[in-house]
Amino acid sequence: MTSRSVTSSSRGELEITDLNRCYLDIGQLAVERLGRGMAWLDTGTHESLQQAASFIETIETRQGLKIACPEEIAYTSGWIDTEHLIRLAEPLRKSGYGEYLLEVLTQDIPQ
């Protein structure tokens, strides 16, 4: 099918870059640019882990909206219903996380 395949690199690893090159070779690699308004954070060091946490805290505190809340996303995607979300919220109320899930139900939160 193609001349190129993914085999162990000189550092003994199966490189994702080699896989992307396979697609590039057959003209089927699309690279979409994420612009300046996007955040892509990695958490590979103590500093970048702390920075990521501060970033999340800043936005969540300012807006009162959670980033990366699986319960909210499942609910807004229509994968779980209202009763189910209330059940999930109950044991989480002491941390404020559960309170947030109940706000998702009662407020018109932007997606």
């Binding site: 993914v6 690893e13 199966l14 992307n20 590039l24 089927q28 994420l34 996007m38 958490t43 499942a74």
Partner: protein, 193 residues
């Protein structure tokens, strides 16, 4: 959600985490807190926002039980979670060796377990990428230090000229991020295993 052609997701959350020792001597890196949630919530919800509901989570053998305690089978969030282990880290593309049976000829999306995406319009971008039926879709992000990543070179019209892993002389500032959408032929690019 069991449609044969719908895209499945893979989260790669292995690795020894030695760069974060002693934080990660006992706890998996991808379970560390990022403000108010475990790190794994971020890549998991990125897949969910794309509309992906059948997901394989790859971890180290000794940390798998902690992920299972936290996430279970996913049914509480309307998704299906499956688990596999990476005996030792041998590259990001190893996820497709480990996940081959799970993928079972479907299109797939790999996300790294320590990557965080946030921004306006993200959900729509993810949904669009998920709807792409053929080829691969990856994302380029301008960074100060591209030499740490896979770097993409564009021509003036925005076409991709090259992709190079950790180049000493990067051809651009665009790093390829840790989120990769592939079509159903992805496993065909691996031979001899």
């Amino acid at each position: 959600m069991n449609q044969a052609n719908s895209r499945c997701g893979i989260i790669l959350a292995g690795g020894s985490g030695t760069r974060l020792y002693p934080l990660t001597q006992v706890v998996s890196k991808q379970l560390l807190p990022v403000y108010d949630k475990p790190m794994i919530y971020y890549p998991l919800t990125t897949l969910m926002m794309a509309g992906i509901r059948d997901i394989l989570l790859i971890t180290t053998p000794h940390e798998q039980f902690m992920f299972k305690q936290l996430l279970g089978d996913g049914s509480q969030w309307g998704i299906q979670l499956h688990y596999a282990v990476q005996e030792k880290p041998e590259g990001l593309a190893q996820a497709f060796q480990i996940g081959r049976e799970f993928i079972n000829g479907r299109p797939s999306c790999l996300i790294l377990g320590d990557n965080i995406y946030y921004g306006g319009g993200l959900r729509e971008r993810l949904k669009q990428a998920n709807q792409q039926v053929s080829g691969a879709t990856v994302f380029g992000y301008w960074v100060r230090d591209p030499e740490r990543y896979g770097v993409v070179e564009f021509d003036p019209d925005g076409n991709v000229l090259s992709v190079v892993e950790k180049p000493e002389q990067p051809k651009s500032n665009y790093a390829i991020t840790g989120l990769y959408f592939y079509d159903q032929q992805v496993c065909d690019f691996f031979i001899a295993w």
